[in-house]
């Protein structure tokens, strides 16, 4: 199960790396000629928000960097043994201002993270603090480690 997760992440990483290499190859030509193309590429970028997943004895803890997002901008759900994080980050130019530099891309996102074990859907909690989303997914009783008593017969 865990191997499956790693492979999945590895695939994403590979795609990301390939995309960056392509971006470098095209830098200054396509992107410069067509800002819309650049915007489209940003929208479809793999793996936003960047996410770390930890496992404790009782739960999985998912942390995602979502700077600029307020409570209403992100939704969290558990669907088919996967955690789904959806939302939109708007980084609008404030009215009446000129732009000197734009490094914070607006992005609409939807990520599905397969869970390596069953979780207690009713007990999942999500908090947002300082642009950091933390989702805690307690494991179900069946997924918790259990000592089996060995009886001599």
């Amino acid at each position: 199960m865990l191997t499956g997760w790693r492979d999945f992440e590895h695939t994403l990483e590979t795609i990301d790396r390939l995309q960056r290499r392509m971006d470098r190859a095209f830098a200054g030509s396509l992107a410069a000629a067509d800002p819309a193309w650049t915007a489209e590429r940003r929208r479809s970028r793999v793996a936003w928000p960047p996410t770390n997943v930890f496992e404790t004895k009782e739960a999985f803890v998912v942390k995602a960097e979502v700077p600029g997002l307020a409570e209403g901008d992100v939704s969290v759900s558990v669907e088919d043994d996967a955690l789904v994080i959806r939302g939109e980050r708007k980084t609008e130019v404030p009215a009446g201002y000129r732009v000197h530099l734009r490094e914070r891309a607006p992005i609409a996102f939807s990520r599905k993270l397969p869970l390596p074990a069953r979780v207690d859907v009713g007990a999942v909690t999500a908090t947002l603090k300082n642009g950091l989303l933390t989702v805690t997914l307690p494991k179900t009783r069946e997924a918790l480690p259990r000592a089996i008593a060995v009886k001599a017969v």
């Binding site: 942390k63 980084t91 732009v99």
Partner: protein, 133 residues
């Protein structure tokens, strides 16, 4: 596994005070209107009191430190971001009232306002006709 973050506390006076973290410049947007320059920086995980801003001559220095994160002690199944701290210096253009620079944090972003000095603001000059017209 944990090669990204060095968790050993420093020796001496700093013992146990802070983790050694990598430091990067945060992504920023820079805007301007008639009254001010606006810098918006992404500093996820940084609390209000983790931010230090300093002005020296024409240089603005930003340091943003993340909260110690309890989750990092458990094994990571996936790691897509490093828990970095943020630091950057920006050159302040002429015509900024450096004494009036202010900043606030909002959902993991830092907004720095650099008001223009009165003399540098765009002004409309009223043209009066002389009485002989």
């Amino acid at each position: 596994m944990n090669d990204v973050i060095k968790q050993e506390p420093k020796n001496g006076s700093n013992a146990g005070k802070a983790y050694q973290r990598r430091t990067v410049a945060p992504p920023v947007d820079v805007f301007e209107n008639a009254d001010e320059l606006l810098i918006v920086a992404d500093v996820p995980g940084v609390p209000n009191d983790g931010i230090e801003l300093g002005v020296e001559n024409d240089t603005l220095t930003l340091t943003a430190r993340r909260l110690a994160d309890g989750g990092t002690t458990s094994p990571a199944l996936a790691r897509e971001y490093d828990e970095v701290d943020f630091a950057a210096t920006y050159r302040i253009p002429a015509g900024i009232d450096t004494a009036a620079i202010s900043a606030e944090t909002r959902n993991g972003t830092l907004v720095v306002r650099l008001p223009k000095a009165a003399a540098a603001r765009a002004r409309k000059i009223v043209v009066r006709s002389s009485s002989g017209d």
